[in-house]
Symmetry: C2
Subunit: 209 residues, 2 copies
Amino acid sequence: MSAEKQLSALVLIADGSEEIETVTPLDVLVRAGFAAVTSVGVGLKNPLYAQCSRGIKIIPDIPSPHEIPDRLVDAADILILPGGAPGAKTFCQSEEVLRLIREFRNEGKWVAAICAGTTALVESVKSPRADGEAAKKCKVTSHPSVKQEIVDAGWTYADDSERVVVDGKIITSRGPGTALLFSLTIVEQLAGKAKKDEVHGPMICAGTL
Amino acid sequence: MSAEKQLSALVLIADGSEEIETVTPLDVLVRAGFAAVTSVGVGLKNPLYAQCSRGIKIIPDIPSPHEIPDRLVDAADILILPGGAPGAKTFCQSEEVLRLIREFRNEGKWVAAICAGTTALVESVKSPRADGEAAKKCKVTSHPSVKQEIVDAGWTYADDSERVVVDGKIITSRGPGTALLFSLTIVEQLAGKAKKDEVHGPMICAGTL
Ligand SMILES: [Cu+]
């Protein structure tokens, strides 16, 4: 067998992003051996750090989407959108974020959103600029607090008992309490079940996430 | 009924602290309405931030234990020690951290440690300065990777199936996959089951953590 593909991810982070939902995928994807896991600030009031939803200050690797080197975007296999209502609202209002989501989808790459993060995915389809794959509504989940707006926008909403949903190359999930399942599902989908199991063990995860 | 007690917590963070284990209690305790949840850097190479175990940079509220105002220490009900092997090693080597652990225990306050964080609790008892409550070994758990050294130091080690252990005012847990259970157990012990249930719901936690 040849060398494994070097996987790479971009994780967006705004003021008001939910810290568990932001940190968990970053942590788990590094554990899974992703070659690059890059956090990117969006609309930060202080360009040095994101002030997350419960006050934790996280310094992103790159302060804004405008400053992501093209090679990082090109190399990235997945774009990850954490929740936290204020952070997700910032994503929805960022043309650069909506453009990134459409670009990833149209290039056949993965997009993953958790909690209120799903609303940015929904927003990205509303624009008249959305075409091809990037215009498709699929089956998703989200935090219950934003379910209605997602349903109203015409998306298929998974049963509330589904804690993570994979539809094509869209992975969505529900809240901080599903962040580990969300992150391990990303690992399983992109790197395979063996890699997921390898990461799962030392983290001492519960049997059912 | 009179006003609820205003709860307050200190969470230590070093370079190499595990990010999920650090962020989860901070997040959950704020959700539970703790009046102050303060992160305190320990031995940081760059005084601005802790570079966590998987590369995430977190800015602590206070850069070092020497700079914690006395009133914050006095007000704090619980001291929390996240894991991550390199971070926990820094805690073990910090006289200030070991002194804080002993002080909290001797004042009848709570100490909580997760993963390799339990080793700092163990270390705090080794010193000849440990007396009274602070000299007592109790029943704990930890990440499996540091179990043997804890057992060798003469502590009672819980069955591996116990994902969180409460013994007196010591709460211990096992790894990133138990961080949510650990944090919710802190809420339950200090603020009661009703508060825990109130926080649990909107986070969309699994039925069994
Ligand atoms: Cu959220």
